[in-house]
Point group: C2
Chain length 404, copies 2
């Protein structure tokens, strides 16, 4: 049978993250790899009440086809909860915010189109855009966010910059107020659209992050949000907010992609959040994740002492970014770590271009504090063993190179 | 702001069907337009029980991220219910079968790729493939299905033929056993892959349709199925079955598109169907739809008497295809029909190439029998009025053309 693949499919490679997540399902492995919210935070009884209520009151509509735009009360609730004036007509409900990336790719990217991304950036965004065969270009950054000069230097002919200003995946970095103001002004001046991804913004530990880039220039931005991190990811409920000039195209792409996001899930979430539930619930997630971040930072300080290990100190979110000493490649280290009962995600797949092979992403939200302590201690042992092995091999090499 | 659209998005036009469905939401309109299953058939209490049970027993997993392939017990249930040997590893759970079409487009279609479709074909498939910018080519057919000679004559360089053998959307046509055997053999010989879409196959009225094309040559086919018509569409649960050589690419496209189909919905449906529920439930849908089809056929016979109106007599499914007398364009007729309180879908958007402007699709499943009777009577009045108006205009034209 002549199954001829599309050119884009020939280029698709199995996701590194996928293969890793499979390994980490083995019993006995503590996974710091996946970005899985802590299931302890899922409001199961609120969902059970909402299911019963929605099916009782509105069962036929909840189980019927719905509008591609989404369920009107949910679109209204989303518009109302955002910190700038949003017309519900600009809100598109998506099957997770991952789908928003797919739709944006379809509407804005031609083969070879330049897309600016952070260095490193969210791997899933690179994957979502990839069927449209764009050319992702990494923008340099520092602790405050992307560097404005580099962003603007690379802006010519770019279709958009994809930015994740709050507790970025994978680094945990947050863009400062000053940098947001500068990025927003420079992008507006250069005519560079911004796609702002904000799945983690509510997960702040000490103070809320500065207002989104989109709030500063709504006509120049598409904003992506999600209920996955504040309620539960298993319902696949996200949304995007787009300027009215772009919205109809995104809506058509949405209709073609899956007709609409499940009516039932939209009504369930609408029911759960209607009486200010998130304002009561989200602080409990923040408190839990803050403890776990603190535990991971303390464990890293303790266990990695004397090793030249660098790590970020995220002010919220789910991830922490680690850079191991010279001579360690985290892709090669992973199988050894798994043997020691701990999994992480190597940093390389998060880079659009050449990456830093010494980096890795650790999630501090899925594992318990005890597990975090055990896992970081195991990781430190693996790093020490690898360094010792490197040193031994180095001696071997020097001996071999020494004339007898 | 320089929002530069992708070439494919420049070509997207608002869906005719979408705009029509909006009109039909007005109170007082009987819609025979949308393909909405009768909400009377939705097993609301079974869903309520399943929600409660799943959240109670398995809440944390049901609300967590899941594997892109889908929930294992649901994949196993799908494999077991299909009438040929299917390995659950070949089953991919999709967010409605519409998403299956999107994934197939991404994996198999390059710009300009030839796709063979029926004449007419499912509008939503044309929309799903369109972001990949293929060239859909209509294959001629007769009452038994696509014509084998025309299929094979057009097969050279075609990436696949998209076929809907059971109670086709929009015509209601079913491919005969003899035609299936011939199509399957000829496609295999020509090396032409088949994408077989079967959302309606269970909705037969007198006898089950012949076995699917995929059962005859699993390595040469991708099969699409859905729970939308046998349970409820608002959960967005579909699936595809693909040869093992193609499956990994479809899985990667799935992961990039929305990570996975909602874990909760997959568990709900898995719970509902686990004890043979479909074998008890689907016959009630068949019985209801059969009555409604009979009512619509009787109403058409009665109301359209004397008019040269042709219509299909589907043996199952949801739709009936109507061809009005010469001189009537159903796109122009629609606003007049809506004024008379009835809506339908004009036939033209269902054609890949040039279409027949006299055709329309009627759904017999959403409206009640009383509504069907009222709607068909109204439709007949509109047709008669249009014919009278055409005749009057014809007289005017002849008078105007007569030398005084």
């Amino acid at each position: 049978m002549n199954w001829k693949l599309a050119a884009r499919a020939e280029k698709m490679n199995p996701s590194v993250l996928r293969e890793i997540l499979k390994v980490t399902e083995r019993p006995g492995i503590i996974s710091l790899a996946g970005g899985l919210p802590s299931p302890k935070t899922f409001p199961i009884s609120a969902f059970a009440d909402a299911c019963a209520e929605v099916l009782h009151r509105d069962g036929q509509a909840a189980l019927q086809y719905g509008a591609s735009e989404g369920y009107t009360p949910l679109r209204e609730a989303v518009a109302a909860m955002l910190p700038w004036p949003v017309d519900p007509a600009q809100v598109l409900i998506t099957t997770g915010s991952q789908q928003g990336l797919d739709l944006i790719g379809k509407v804005l990217l031609d083969p070879g189109s330049r897309v600016l991304v952070e260095t490193p950036t969210y791997l899933g965004a690179l994957q979502a855009f990839s069927p449209m065969e764009p050319e992702p270009v990494g923008v340099e950054g520092d602790d405050e966010g992307v560097r404005v000069e580099d962003l603007i230097a690379k802006a010519k002919d770019a279709r958009f910059a994809y930015l994740l200003p709050n507790f970025q995946n994978p680094t945990g970095r947050t863009m400062t107020e000053a940098r947001r103001a500068a990025v927003s002004a420079a992008a507006a001046k250069a005519g560079l659209p911004i796609v702002e991804d904000n799945p983690y913004g509510e997960l702040w530990f000490d103070e809320a992050p500065p207002p989104p880039l989109t709030a500063r220039n709504p006509e120049g931005c598409i904003y992506l949000g999600s209920f996955s991190k504040v309620l539960a990811p298993g319902l696949r409920l996200g949304f995007l907010v787009a300027p009215k000039s772009i919205f109809p195209k995104l809506l058509q792409a949405k209709q073609a992609a899956d007709l609409h996001t499940p009516s039932f899930n939209q009504r369930m979430v609408s029911e759960v959040i209607k009486d200010g539930f998130l304002a009561r619930h989200v602080p409990t997630i923040r408190a839990l994740y803050k403890q776990q971040r603190d535990a991971m930072l303390a464990a890293l300080e303790r266990e990695m002492k004397g090793l030249k290990v660098e790590f970020s100190r995220p002010a919220g979110g789910m991830f922490l970014w680690v850079r191991l000493p010279e001579g360690i490649d985290t892709v090669a280290l992973l199988p050894k770590a798994v043997e020691h009962g701990v999994a992480f995600v190597p940093g390389l797949p998060f880079y659009a271009g050449e990456g830093d092979a010494r980096t890795m992403r650790l999630s501090f939200v899925t594992a318990s504090i005890d597990e975090i302590n055990t896992a970081i201690a195991a990781l430190a042992r693996v790093v020490r063993e690898q360094l010792a092995q490197n040193a031994a091999e180095d001696v071997q090499r020097r001996l071999a190179a020494t004339p007898v």
